[in-house]
């Protein structure tokens, strides 16, 4: 692909201690690239390490192993990170998974939204911070009467939108969105997704979009990675993935997408995937741009 690579993740591994003895490989040897101006979707099992990947990208965790290159900066290297700190902090933004805990309960909504600007000492383009906040609020579908409220007075979805507004106000070039639309109603989800689309197309934003709503991922994302048990098991352009899944987990996942149709939905019997054949599989390119973990012995079969 000729597109410029914005983010290059190489063999990222992140371990956590469960107890003193037992370690969890939250992320296990994950490599992928995100191109400039694309929306990269990351889906996968709950607890498979999606948030951890996101946090590593944001330098919240120092990876156990592996490298992450943002443009030509190795952000895992502390020295280089320090050097490019300011650039990284303004260009990358993150929407956290849990909006309730990522908003300081003691700050007003308007202060929360404009916090990044205040931190980076950016004069608000729309005059005052309050105006700026109001503008961002409208973007995400919130009345500006919410400006003076505190997070605890908001509903889950409203909080989430505040978090989105906060990350957008810096107009970042790279946005990590960890389940940004999970607790929004369908209509507002659509609004946010349209907004993301708009930002991508007209402003060239790049997104890492983590979600469970596969329908939305299919709609929004250019390329999608599927994670399972800390490993990236499949990576392909959205259409390719949805139409031609290779990995058994991906297949299970796609088959489990709920359909808004009571009769059909209730009848549907689901299959589960329990990690069969994960042990000796290897990362292969099954078709151009479509990578997957495939069983070593059956290598080549699916091509």
């Amino acid at each position: 692909m000729s597109k410029e690579v914005l983010l290059d993740v190489k063999h990222l591994t992140q371990q956590f201690h469960l107890t003193r003895k037992i370690k969890v490989k939250a992320v296990d040897d994950v490599s992928f690239q995100i191109h400039k101006g694309e929306i990269f979707g990351l889906v996968g099992e709950s607890g498979s390490g999606k948030s951890t990947v996101a946090r590593c990208l944001m330098n919240i965790y120092q990876p156990t192993k592996g490298e992450i290159w943002y443009k030509d900066v190795n952000i895992c290297d502390k020295k280089e990170f320090k050097k490019h700190k300011k650039m990284l902090q303004t260009r990358r933004q993150m929407i956290f998974q849990d909006s309730a805990s990522s908003l300081n309960q003691k700050m007003k909504v308007s202060d929360i939204i404009t916090e990044p600007m205040r931190i980076q000492h950016i004069t608000p383009p729309r005059g005052s911070f309050v105006k700026e906040a109001a503008f961002q609020m409208e973007y995400v579908g919130l009345e500006n009467s919410f400006l003076d409220r505190y997070p605890s007075e908001l509903s889950g979805g409203q909080r989430q939108r505040v978090a989105i507004a906060r990350s957008l106000c810096m107009e970042p070039e790279f946005l990590v969105a960890d389940e940004p639309i999970a607790s929004l109603d369908v209509s507002i989800q659509a609004q946010i997704v349209n907004l993301f689309r708009h930002l991508q197309e007209d402003h060239g934003f790049t997104f890492l979009f983590i979600a469970h709503d596969l329908a939305m991922v299919e709609y929004l994302c250019d390329r999608v990675g599927v994670m399972y048990h800390g490993k990236l098991v499949e990576l392909a352009p959205a259409e390719e993935l949805y139409s031609n899944p290779v990995h058994p987990y991906t297949k299970t996942l796609l088959s489990a997408i709920p359909v808004p149709d009571p009769i059909r939905e209730r009848k549907r019997v689901l299959q589960y995937y329990h990690g069969e054949g994960m042990e000796n599989s290897v990362w292969t390119e099954v078709s151009p741009g479509h990578f997957a973990m495939t069983q070593a012995d059956r290598k080549g079969c699916s091509i």
């Binding site: 944001m58 330098n59 919240i60 700190k85 300011k86 902090q89 303004t90 990358r92 933004q93 993150m94 956290f96 849990d98 805990s101 990522s102 908003l103 300081n104 309960q105 003691k106 700050m107 916090e115 990044p116 931190i119 980076q120 009345e143 500006n144 009467s145 003076d148 505190y150 605890s152 007075e153 810096m170």
Partner: protein, 295 residues
């Protein structure tokens, strides 16, 4: 009418009434406390204007006088007019109390917060240092510091008192910071590039404010009293400088003689100041914590 009512109107823009905060400005604000505090402070600042007598003048014909028209708050055992002394002495007391508290709180918050976010070894180091500092008798430290600083004046005294009284607050701050340092909103702020002091001021302070609020307020009182004690021991301000602290520390002599005004009046002013500060602190705390009790 009914017909038109049931005609399509489509989605019209309607005026959305943006609710304004309709509460009066003084709602939820400790108006009375602020007023009293401001009165006391103004009174002390403008002491020259309201003083009826020279506060340092010992009127030997009128010592130990109960409050009357001439001596509004009575006179002390040496014939000084308590009314004038209160205003005159308040200035230095409040200055020292405030300054020392600001210094000690600043050190405490910075050290505590830094220790809270620091890696294990540094935290251990800072905490042990704090404890060692705490174990050296304050009196010795003060004597040493005063000797280094030279002549005692309001600034040096505030500094010395402040520098020797931060440890307990620092401890609490550290514990609190350790509890919240990995909260997502702090991580988020760091991601956005917030420096240590911003995180401290915007995110950490509002969270541990409530635990240290009263300690800080009480530091004001303690600093005022310490000042008097130090003067009394010869390492403070000159003895003829009147402060609330010195008025209070002399008042025990009046205890047995029934001259209630000598002890009660400076005490009342001190209590009023501390109470007002507590109330204001409380209001700030509530302001910062708009959440309601789930209990």
């Amino acid at each position: 009418m009914t017909n038109s009512l049931f005609e399509f109107a489509g989605n019209k823009k309607t005026e959305t009434i943006i609710p304004k905060a309709k509460k009066k400005w003084y709602k939820n604000k400790p108006v009375v406390s602020i007023a009293i505090l401001v009165l006391i402070i103004l009174g002390c600042l403008g002491a020259e204007l309201i003083m009826t007598k020279d506060p340092t003048y010992m009127d030997l014909l009128n010592y130990n006088k109960a409050p009357d028209k001439e001596f509004l708050f009575g006179t002390d055992t040496m014939g000084r007019d308590i009314f004038s002394m209160i205003w005159y002495g308040g200035r230095i007391s409040i200055l020292i109390g405030g300054l020392a508290t600001v210094i000690s709180t600043f050190i405490a918050v910075v050290v505590g917060a830094f220790s809270g976010v620091a890696p294990a070894w540094l935290d251990e180091l800072i905490m042990r240092f704090t404890e060692i500092f705490l174990s050296i008798p304050t009196l010795l430290l003060i004597i040493l510091l005063q000797a280094i600083m030279g002549n005692a004046n309001v600034l040096s005294l505030s500094f010395v008192i402040g520098v020797t009284s931060w440890t307990s607050i620092a401890k609490v701050v550290r514990t609190e910071v350790r509890q919240i340092r990995n909260s997502e909103y702090i991580i988020a702020a760091k991601c956005m590039g917030a420096g240590f002091f911003r995180v401290l001021w915007k995110h950490l302070v509002p969270n541990f404010f409530s635990s240290i609020m009263f300690m800080v307020v009480m530091n004001v009182r303690t600093a005022m009293i310490s000042e008097a004690t130090l003067s009394f021991m010869g390492i403070g301000l000159p003895i003829e400088v009147i402060t609330w602290g010195s008025m209070l520390s002399l008042s025990d002599k009046a205890l047995m003689t029934g001259s209630w005004w000598i002890i009660l009046i400076p005490g009342l002013f001190l209590i009023a100041t501390v109470l007002c500060l507590t109330n204001i602190g409380n209001a700030c705390r509530e302001q910062a914590n708009r959440k309601e009790s789930n209990f």
